[in-house]
């Protein structure tokens, strides 16, 4: 969005007789109204994104999954934790479209509630990871003095055995955190924090590489020559330009976070039993998979479908954000 405003102000500055255009773009000779239609960067990205069929299908399915877990509980109002022991292990019926589990809890409602948690964990963990990642990436790319220590730190984190460490963190700190924040919220903070703190390294490396390249460009030189302070330089000129790799990394980060959370739940180290997530539902159903295979299939399919969609969206975004591919 900053890009559009910037290109809009460009001709004004040129018209004001400013010889050195700050962005390093040659002053427009053609008046703005000569253009056929206003084209913003994001419109271009969207146009390119739409032509990627897999990404569009992925987006549609992902949006419907989000609607399913967010709007669904408003329509299907059975409490996911309501125990109806007489209706336990029931098959597909009108009262319970997807059947019930061994305690008579409605599976459809549980899938919706579980999806809310799974997707919330995915999104929050991704935001944390991307925040840390871009912070460290920008810092080490922009300030030369910080580069070596921060990259050493990133390499250290990359060398950590992540899944064992996650398991360790979740087991060791679940008790104290659930005592302070309550069982559900405490585990949520723990899992989200643990996943976020262990998955920022890729984003940091990508962002650093981009920033290093950007720093050599003329518009940065121009901005520096008019005395732009570092913080404004980063916020106004660097960050908007590294937004596309960050967004791609963010999309793929959601997928990894969802898989990691369900893996933790599957190992029995995730959320408490009465707090459904997709991974937890799968884990609970494994004991009865011989008799009721559907209970395993549904949450598993939802996890895989969500991750598949997110991966496709990321793929499409990567293509759409790359100006070299765009327009071909």
């Amino acid at each position: 969005m900053t890009d559009t405003t910037r290109t809009d102000t460009d001709p004004l500055r040129a018209a004001a007789g400013n010889a050195a255009t700050p962005e390093g773009i040659s002053p427009p000779i053609v008046p703005p109204q000569a253009e056929v239609a206003t084209r913003s960067q994001w419109l271009d990205v969207w146009r390119q994104f739409r032509s990627h069929r897999g990404a569009m299908v992925g987006l549609v399915i992902f949006v419907s999954i989000i609607l399913f877990v967010s709007v669904g509980p408003l329509i299907w109002t059975i409490d996911p934790t309501y125990v109806d022991i007489r209706a336990r292990n029931s098959g597909f019926s009108v009262a319970h479209p997807l059947g019930t589990d061994q305690l008579g809890r409605d599976l459809l409602a549980r899938l919706m509630a579980g999806g809310q948690v799974s997707i919330a964990v995915g999104l929050t963990a991704m935001i944390i990871a991307i925040f840390i990642g871009s912070l460290i990436g920008v810092m080490s790319g922009y300030f030369r003095r910080l580069d070596a220590p921060l990259m050493r730190l990133t390499e250290l984190f990359l060398a950590l055995p992540l899944l064992p460490l996650l398991l360790l963190m979740v087991t060791l700190f679940r008790e104290p955190l659930s005592q302070t924040f309550g069982p559900a919220l405490g585990i949520f903070f723990l899992i989200v924090g643990a996943i976020g703190a262990t998955s920022w390294m890729q984003a940091a490396r990508i962002v650093r590489g981009e920033v290093l390249g950007l720093k050599e460009r003329e518009f940065i030189l121009a901005a520096r020559s008019i005395g732009t302070p570092s913080h404004r330089m980063i916020l106004r000129h660097i960050l908007p330009n590294v937004l596309s790799p960050i967004m791609v990394a963010a999309t793929l980060g959601i997928a990894t976070a969802i898989i990691t959370e369900s893996a933790l739940s599957f190992l029995g180290l995730g959320f408490p039993p009465d707090f459904p997530t997709w991974g937890r539902l799968l884990y609970d159903a494994v004991d009865q998979m011989v008799l009721y295979p559907w209970r395993v299939i549904f949450p598993g399919v939802l996890i895989s479908l969500t991750v598949l969609c997110v991966n496709y969206i990321g793929d499409g975004l990567r293509d759409a954000m790359d100006p070299r591919i765009r327009g071909r």
Partner: protein, 335 residues
Amino acid sequence: MLSFTIRRLLLAIPTLLFISLVIFLLLEASPGDPLADVPLTVPPEVRERMREALGLGDPWPIRYILWLKQFFWVEPLHWTDQVFGTSFSEGMQRIISFQSRSPVFDVIAQRVPQTLTVVGMSYVVGVLIAIPIGILSAYRQYSWFDQIGTFVSMIGFSMPTFFTGVVLIIIFAVNLQWFPSVYDTTLEVRDWDSFLQQARQMVMPVTVLALYNAAQISRFMRSSMLDNLGQDYVRTARAKGLSERVVVLKHVLRNSLIPVVTVIALGLPAVFGGAIITEQVFKVNGLGQLLISAIHGNDIPMVLTLTFIFAILIVVFTLVADILYGVLDPRIRYD
């Protein structure tokens, strides 16, 4: 090249020390008490003596140094004693597991073969599947084979291994009853029958992990082949009148394998981590299962040692990947 290797090896030492410290402090900060299962009727002074016996009496820096000494000095000495019949390590304390009260490395040595057969096999199978698929889908880009291959590999790494594993169990173990759902580690391969049994029980875990690995490696293979197929030397080779077979399999494939080999090397330690879940699904009592039971049992020395071994694997294979890249591709210079 040699100086690069030496420099990287030297750099690996502080990295590993730091990682071990992080793991150690994480375990130290944990509220879990290895004596939590001891009955309350045990008097406090006895309890204190038990703590001392477990080596928990000292402050943490001393215990950390002690563990480092045991890991890097006592254990190698013990192994040399085993091999050469010497007695350097006599009277030295090895790392002892809290749970089984036996040396940690003996337990690990019992578990390694299971993990290696399943995980190693699956990685080999995965690579063998992935490379031809990658070659074909790059050579026939946007053909139906490529489209299906792309879609399947996308599914392959979107489906978590615990789900594919469970689905395979439902289909092939429960409904069709072709393969056993539980991996029997007591089985010894002595004759043809037991070999068949071993092969049958390995099919499913190996398939699950192999699919997951193949999905990723085939993507790398494809994009690397695509990069090379457009190069000038390919046109030259064709212009010389070489057959397509020679052009693709000799000229392009060899160059495309360079980045793929490093990706394969980088992926190996991650496979050990991913195997934790697959081992849990198929009840293979390998390293992953050992780690999880140790975490549940507050077995600090076991968790520390195992996690540190995983860290060593990662550092070593990253180094191997870097060196391989330099060796295979003479254009890469590490200076």
